[in-house]
């Protein structure tokens, strides 16, 4: 943007962007303005506000479920078979499941596993994928070829089948951490590809050339110049995949190879409820609704982040 200072009428400037011109502001640096614009955009975006409030609430619920329900699903006598499949009532909003456990209590306590899986998987995938992508994109050559071939192999294996296989291989009962690990193993190539492409497209930009010409070292160029410019698409995808991973955990647990009982997972609750779904739909629908709202909240956040960071879509 700094070249506008010297631009006069004889400079070869296009005049095809009447929309862009009025919005033009003098910005010292592209990266800084992208992020500050994004923050300003996010604050105005109702998707972000609704999604953000929901996510915050879910995080609080998962840390201190006791604030939201009196009982603990693990306490002695938490379940009473005489209440089996009872419909929702004023005291028991979500009703009872087949074992006579209070569905509301179980749903509240089940939030933790979903949130852990979502955050842990996304963090791992993003860090591993981004670093490897940065490495491959920057170094090129043999490293790039090897890493790219490996991601191709991972891409060619259907994710769900791969997940089933590895989960069943683990020598201990599945929990939120093992599910996260397995999904991270299968999920990193996506971030890797985006990061690598992003680095490649930024690598030959003028500002990187300029930094090189000024004698900046490879490490400095990579982390100070390329990373901040290339990270935006990675963050967009990572933000959206948070919700996707939570849904995937539920799917694995639903198939009986994710989180194992007596731990609580919404996917497991749904799986347990399916046999009597037609007779007692509330047993399935309440955890399903909460799961959907959770995924929705994270996807709304992700959408808002994408809208803010991808000015092309405006």
């Amino acid at each position: 943007m700094s070249d506008t200072i010297t631009k006069d009428a004889s400079a070869p400037a296009g005049d095809n962007s009447p929309k862009a011109t009025p919005a033009k502001k003098e910005k010292p640096e592209r990266v800084a303005s992208l992020w500050s614009d994004a923050v300003r955009d996010l604050r105005r975006n109702p998707l972000f506000i609704i999604g953000g409030v929901l996510v915050l609430a879910l995080i609080v619920i998962s840390i201190v479920p006791g604030w939201f329900t009196d009982g603990s699903p693990f306490a002695n006598g938490a379940c009473d078979l005489s209440h089996s499949l009872e419909r929702p009532s004023a005291e028991h909003w979500f009703g009872y499941d087949v074992q006579g456990c209070d569905i509301y209590t179980r749903t509240v306590w089940g939030a933790r596993n979903s949130i852990i899986v979502g955050i842990l998987t996304t963090t791992t995938v993003t860090v591993v994928g981004a670093l490897l992508g940065l490495w491959a994109g920057w170094k090129g050559g043999v490293i790039d070829s090897i890493l790219s071939r490996i991601t191709e192999i991972f891409f060619s294996i259907p994710t769900l089948l791969g997940g089933m296989l590895i989960m069943s291989m683990l020598p201990f009962a599945g929990n939120a951490y093992s599910v996260s690990l397995v999904m991270a193993v299968l999920g990193w190539p996506q971030i890797f590809r985006i990061m690598r492409a992003s680095v490649l497209s930024n690598k030959n930009n003028d500002y990187v050339m300029a930094a090189r010409a000024l004698g900046a070292g490879a490490g400095r160029i990579t982390f100070r110049h390329i990373l901040p410019n290339a990270i935006a698409p990675v963050i967009v995808v990572a933000a959206i995949s948070l919700g996707v991973f939570i849904g995937a955990e539920a799917a694995l647990s639903y198939l009986g190879i994710g989180v194992q009982p007596p731990q609580i997972s919404w996917g497991l609750m749904i799986s347990d409820a399916q046999v009597r779904f037609l007779a007692a739909p509330h047993v399935l629908l309440f955890p399903a609704a909460v799961l959907s709202v959770t995924v929705l909240a994270f996807i709304m956040l992700g959408d808002a982040v994408r809208d803010a960071l991808d000015p092309k879509l405006r």
Binding site: A11, P12, G14, D15, N16, K19, P22
Partner: protein, 349 residues
Amino acid sequence: MTTVIEKNQKSGRLEVGTPLLEVKDLHVEFHTRDGVAKAVNGVNYSVAAGETLAVLGESGSGKSVTAQTIMGILDMPPGKISQGQILFRGKDMLAMKEEERRQIRGQKIAMIFQDALSSLNPVMTVGAQLGEMFRVHRGASKKEAREKAIELMERVRIPAARQRVGDYPHQFSGGMRQRIMIAMALSMEPDLIIADEPTTALDVTVQAQVMDLLAELQAEYNMGLILITHDLGVVADVADKIAVMYAGRIVETAPVRDLYANPAHPYTKGLLRSIPRLDQKGQELYAIKGLPPNLLKVPAGCAFNPRCDVATDLCRTEIPALHQVTDKDGKELTGRRSACHLWKETLHG
């Protein structure tokens, strides 16, 4: 359909000067999230058959927006025409129904864009894109349309037209692509062509060829031509008259020679001084100070005042009218107007 009388008008030399297109007091604004940008603020100009009007200005001066409004291809929203008329052969196009305007677009008024590569459809052959005009507007068969496309390509001197009619835009050089754009604009033998920076994206040597071709074809078909540019050099040889735009207003109009010889507005003067000249070799090139105005916050008074060397207090408070310019003896100079409080000093001082 062109009537016999219109055809005669087109070929008759005497009719040069008949107003073909008149823009009257046009106002266009853009509603952005940061506020309303007034891109065009009361622009008036006219073009006659066979005449070339050059519209000169830098980015954001409103010259392209005016052209897009004439063409009816302005994005609305965010754009909005708040006031004014655009008369084509005496009829206000802004009051027409969309279907009637569509019949004018491409057939009576055609447009040539700056960047031919992005303005041509990448997945259609140039033959298909040229032939489409005949297929849609003349009901030609596929074969006829192809022949017409080849004919047009030959008209704009594309070598081996018959072999290249099935090629895609990316397979042509920049100059050849712009020739295809010109051919497309010419296809329906329109009355008026609007060329929006037609040579900006081209190499200097190719620029001259394309410009010459355009001027030659214009004379041949006796078309009106609105040439939009930021480059004074392009204009000199081909234009009859010039309108200089700044911040959405016309600041000076003049026959091309008069403007070059003796500008009546400090902005025009600055533009002329900033052209590199051989006889001033070794001297520092003049540049107008400051930046083009932000259309969301146009300076009070004359929009040019913060960048003007001779601005007075009057310039900072009152928007200058477009004054009729006179010579030293007070005789009106035909076609010369200047929107400067100090036009006399600028012209005669």
